[in-house]
């Protein structure tokens, strides 16, 4: 469903500190599967995720979603695609402090103008499914790391996205919590959601929940 063709990404192009983070990536990501990007630090995994998730545009090459070229679209359309198609779980979770778990989960849905009650029900159902119902009114900064991550996952799912993007989802978790995350991931695969994640963690990459592993090095895809 997502196709990248000879995608390159440069930072600070044309300046003395120009840096090519991606130097020609061609990759097809299949729908309803869990794909993991693996590679050493600085190999371009996060950069690739930002291009797939419409957070940034490639310097050259094409990104297409369902056969439609999205690499040249203006910011407004990218935002709309991002909101409708992708849910993000960031490495630092990036929850908004001072708001409750519930409010954080509902945030991505605000611009859609969906009725408040409906939103609330959906958020409650998600928190319930992630076994966080009892913490829904707690401010996020009071939650433990694992709880924060589950809030972040619930937030990523509020708009019911086709694709879930997770950057180093287990980097801040201990083994038990990482295993729990993999269990949640497995259930997404069964639901038919597309998941793209990055990880160094063998526990993640080698787990049965992951259908395909893509290895990266120096901004290129390498065969293992």
């Amino acid at each position: 469903m997502i196709e990248l063709r000879d995608v390159k990404k440069a930072f600070n192009q044309g300046q003395h500190n120009e840096y090519w983070a991606l130097s020609g990536i061609s990759l097809t990501i299949e729908a309803r599967r869990v794909t993991a990007l693996r590679g050493p630090s600085g190999s371009g995994k996060t950069t690739l995720l930002t291009l797939i998730g419409c957070l940034a545009r490639p310097t050259s090459g094409r990104v297409s979603l369902h056969g439609r070229d999205i690499s040249g679209l203006p910011e407004r359309f990218l935002t709309e695609i991002r909101r409708k198609t992708f849910g993000f779980v960031f490495q630092q979770f990036n929850l908004i402090k001072g708001l409750s778990a519930m409010e954080n989960v509902m945030l991505p849905a605000y611009p859609t103008g969906r009725p408040h009650r409906e939103l609330k029900q959906r958020a409650e159902a998600l928190l319930d499914r992630l076994r966080l119902a009892h913490r829904r009114d707690a401010r996020v900064e009071w939650l433990s790391g694992g709880e924060q991550q589950r809030v972040a996952i619930a937030r990523a799912l509020i708009n019911d996205p086709e694709v879930l993007i997770a950057d180093e989802p287990t980097a801040n978790l201990d083994t038990a919590l990482a295993k729990e995350f993999m269990a949640i991931l497995e259930s997404f695969g069964e639901e038919g959601r597309t998941v793209i994640l990055t990880s160094h963690d063998p526990l993640v990459v080698e787990s049965a929940a992951v259908n395909r592993v893509v290895d990266m090095r120096d901004g290129l895809i390498v065969e293992p």
Partner: protein, 378 residues
Amino acid sequence: MTVWFEKQRHLIDFTLASLIRRKGRNLGLLFVYTLLVFVLASVMLYTHALRHEAAVILEGSPEVLLQRLVAGRHDLIPPGYIERIGTVRGVQQIRGRLWGYYYDSVVKANYTFMVPEDGSVAKGTLVVGPALERERGLARDNGISFRAYSGQLFSFTVAAVLPQASELASADLILMNEGDFRAFFAYPAGHYTDVALSVANPKEVRNVANKLANLLPDSRPILREEVQRTYASVFDWREGIMLALLSAAILAFSILAWEKASGLSADEKREIGILKAIGWETGDVIRMKLWEGGLISLTAFLVGFVAAYLHVFRAGSPLFEPVLKGWAVLYPRFDLVPVIDGLQVATLFFFTVFPYMAAVLVPIWRAAVTDPDAVMRA
């Protein structure tokens, strides 16, 4: 349409939650902002009401007033003067007026006794101003006695109380019959306090005044337009002083508001990045900030303005009465009649709300157009 409303509702929800999260900062700002609106609105309402009072007084006063002077002091108009004034071309209506001051030792205040133009007050009765109604507890049909300067006691009944069109003009006024007036003050027959006259052609007023001065060299004509100008300059001057003092306050506020509103903290920048990354458009972020600025500035404006209204028209402007009211000594107490000028309110609104909204928006714009992918590398 309902989607639009739901969306705004969500944005307001979020905005309120954000405001509460940064309670200290926002409350401090709101307080200073409200205070500024309060002081500015108080000055505006107060001077406008005073001007209005002055206009009401002047409206009722004659175009030209003629006083006779003896040794530079105001003296009575003797018989024969009115007839001589009548010979001046251009003079239309001539009326000898009778009025005088009376000190009431009971309430320690000065009253103005006056015979009304139309002679409508019956013998033995009085029409009193609202201040007397208040200070001496007078109502219709009550009796009241005053001891004249001669020592003789006079009794009257109150026929009516004047409406409160302008307290400055009528608060301490007592209208009485001509016969009563002459008896009470032992006023010589045929004499008047001064002469009021009107002029057929308004352009001729100055001319007529010159002729009168030549005809009656011991008299002084006072023109309404001159009085008007004097009033206006007095008010302008006082208002000017107030505003000069206030401009320092406005400047201080602008600096504070600019810093508070425009200085995006690192936290806020990060938040805007997160919102954009999870699917908020730049426009949504700006709308949210607009709501925030709007809620703060509207609250400050409404609270400040209502407080100023109460301060000026209910409490009697205790805060700057000494500066603004020159003749306060003459009046033991006077309430301004509430008058509000729409244009003035609009001006105040524009100069307090608009700059704040601008201060809120400028930096947001900068933050909102940054790339959302920065969030991935927090």
